[in-house]
């Protein structure tokens, strides 16, 4: 047995591996012999590493099983392997039926699910999907089960680009983006009326073809393909979740509903609104997106159609269902319960909502960088949850106590200075309005210190904070 490598030997081995790999195979042996003349066993070891054509290992390489290429599946001739996604392998195939050739994407479930109940469930889903006929929904061409029990689906192969990339690459203006988005909402609404929920809406499932038509993929099959096995009841099977797109109720493991799709549409709206959108329109669209992706399903738009209606209203400058200050039922309920505090408190909540809108903008402008987008989205989620906490605590006690509770949670954000900075600005505004000038001053100062280092804050936010600081400092009682 070979001895365990020490650090020095391993690092030399890796260097030799890369240097030798960069050479033509026939030159490697001579190169290694010369480069490791002092250590022939090392040279031999590197040569062994380079020479070994390992069989693919499911553990090291994932379990892609492109073994169906060249075979016939139902009316489909499998031409090539496309990708492994979710629980299925996806192949490129040509389907010939009634003398018509159609290029299809063939999704084959990875594992044997040949039990009677799975097949029955699959047939049920197939009937459901067959009902979906919409110009913006990719139709299911065929469904079947392989001899080994693995179910497969064939759907039209779309040669398109994810909607966000399409918008960015073509430099579409706000009206064109809104037009595309409304078409997507129409398709989602159509499916919802046929009682089919997508569960996993995201740009990679919304492709736009050359002619500019959006097509939704994978409708209703997300859950189908997520089946882990036969022992779980069909309706409790976990669906695939995409961080940043899945709704809070899906993340909690609750069943997805049409409201979950509305949530994803809200996330999409925020993603495709770009920095060139006129400010007023962008603010309205941010409110619409915030309402669509509200943490509480009941506070979202009742349907994708209603969401589309508000987007069109924003485009045309008409009054919205969603606008800052009345975006949530919670806020309205709060206002009706606490008439005494409405004037002050609704102003406070407005301040927080504006803070949330600011985060949406940050997220939008960071849409090109998925990791930044993810972070910004988690900030939105965090701030919204804090907003709810403020409202909840205010219902049971004093606003002062609620603010203190939020302030006490600030150390949670020590590794996310942007979130901490924005929270401090929001807190400063709130403390100022309840008359706690010292606390307000403290938070605005710390927030500005963060903003100076983080540099990712927009100028308006920073200017507002500086004005608040100046005001608070001027009003500060002179010390004894």
């Amino acid at each position: 047995m070979r001895p365990a490598p020490n650090a020095e030997r391993l690092s030399r081995m890796e260097r030799l591996f890369h240097d030798a790999a960069a050479r033509a195979p026939e030159d490697r042996e001579a190169f290694l012999a010369a480069a490791a003349a002092d250590d022939p066993s090392l040279a031999a070891e590197v040569a062994e590493l380079l020479a070994s054509a390992d069989p693919p290992s499911p553990l090291l390489d994932g379990d892609a099983s492109p073994d169906l290429v060249g075979s016939r599946i139902g009316p489909c001739h499998v031409k090539g392997f496309l990708a492994s996604g979710g629980m299925a392998d996806v192949y490129r195939a040509v389907r010939t039926a009634d003398d018509v050739e159609l290029h299809v994407a063939l999704k084959v479930m990875r594992r044997g699910l040949d039990t009677g109940s799975m097949v029955a469930r699959f047939r049920r889903e197939r009937r459901t999907l067959a009902r979906l006929r919409h110009p913006h929904i990719v139709a299911l061409a065929d469904v079947g089960v392989l001899p080994d029990g693995r179910p497969w689906l064939a759907m039209e192969l779309i040669d398109g680009e994810p909607i966000d990339r399409w918008c960015a690459r073509r430099g579409l203006d706000a009206r064109a983006r809104i037009g595309l988005f409304v078409e997507v909402c129409g398709a989602v609404h159509h499916a919802h009326r046929h009682l089919v929920v997508h569960c996993d809406l995201k740009p990679s499932n919304i492709l736009v073809g050359e002619e500019g038509t959006p097509k939704l993929l994978d409708f209703g099959i997300a859950r189908l393909l997520a089946a882990e096995g036969d022992d779980e009841p069909a309706d409790e099977m976990p669906a695939p979740l995409t961080p940043g797109w899945a709704s809070p109720e899906q993340l909690r493991g609750e069943p997805a509903s049409t409201a979950s799709d509305v949530h994803a549409l809200g996330v999409l709206l925020a993603r495709i609104v770009d920095a060139r959108t006129p400010t007023a329109l962008a603010a309205d669209l941010a409110s619409v997106a915030a309402m669509a992706s509200h943490a509480d399903p009941a506070a979202r738009y009742a349907s994708a159609a209603e969401l589309a209606g508000d987007v069109l209203a924003a485009r045309d400058g008409l009054p919205l269902r969603a606008h800052p200050g009345s975006a949530t039922h919670r806020v309205r309920r709060f206002a009706s319960r606490h008439r005494w505090a409405v004037v002050g408190a609704s102003g406070l909540l407005l301040g927080l909502l504006v803070g949330v809108a600011g985060l949406w903008y940050g997220w939008r402008s960071a849409a090109h960088d998925a990791s930044v987008g993810w972070r910004a989205h988690s900030q939105v989620v965090e701030v919204v949850s804090l907003l709810q906490e403020v409202v909840r605590r205010t219902e049971g006690g004093g606003l002062d106590a609620a603010l203190d509770a939020v302030a006490a949670r600030l150390p949670d954000h020590a590794d996310a200075p942007e979130t901490e900075g924005r929270l401090r600005f929001a807190l400063a505004a709130l403390y100022e309005q309840v008359g706690r000038q010292e606390a307000a001053l403290q938070h605005v100062e710390r927030g500005l210190a963060i903003a100076r280092v983080a540099r990712s804050f927009d100028r308006r936010t920073v200017r507002e904070a500086e004005e608040r600081l100046a005001r608070l400092t001027a009003l500060r009682p002179k010390g004894p």
Binding site: D54, L59, P243, L251
Partner: protein
């Protein structure tokens, strides 16, 4: 500490990692993704420093934790099979899932050896093999360029495959 204390997306992150892991496990795996997440969750969230963890650190811990859970479970399965009878040889008739459990233990051993010589490379492999993270994700998490991640993974993969071959016999 309750799970409520975590932002929901952290839970999503865990679930995604678990899902990628479970996909490669045997179909009748006794651990469902939810159970795996829960176990990893309890272990990571139970740490005294849990709330101050950065995203990078959290992902690393979650992946390491799930690795431990899976290795423990693979070890139990292999032991149970050994007890059931020794005529079980690793040949072509061995179900893929059984080979996978055994391979998982071999990778775990090899990774331990690797960590002693090159901790950075071992971390990369752990994210790749036990977290199923993509090249770009790993590059972001470890602060390397995607090119470096690809190169280092190519080497590590050859090295691991050889370790598995030599141990597996």
């Amino acid at each position: 500490m309750t799970t409520q204390a975590w932002p929901p997306l952290v839970h999503a992150e865990l679930r995604a990692v678990a899902r990628r892991l479970m996909r490669r496990e045997r179909p009748d795996h006794t651990l469902q993704p939810t159970a795996l997440v829960h176990e990893a969750w309890m272990r990571v969230a139970g740490r005294p420093d849990a709330r101050g963890l950065s995203h990078t650190r959290f992902v690393a811990l979650a992946v390491a934790t799930m690795r431990r859970v899976l290795v423990d479970s693979a070890r139990r399965r292999c032991a149970a099979r050994r007890d059931a009878g020794r005529r079980m040889d690793l040949d072509d008739s061995t179900p893929a899932a059984d080979r996978c459990s055994r391979e998982l233990l071999l990778v775990d051993d090899a990774l331990r050896t690797l960590a002693e010589a090159d901790a950075d490379l071992a971390r990369l492999v752990e994210l790749r093999v036990f977290g199923r993270h993509g090249v770009d994700e790993i590059a972001a998490l470890l602060g390397m360029s995607p090119r470096t991640v690809k190169r280092r993974w190519a080497f590590a993969r050859s090295w691991l495959a050889r370790e598995i071959r030599s141990q597996g016999r």
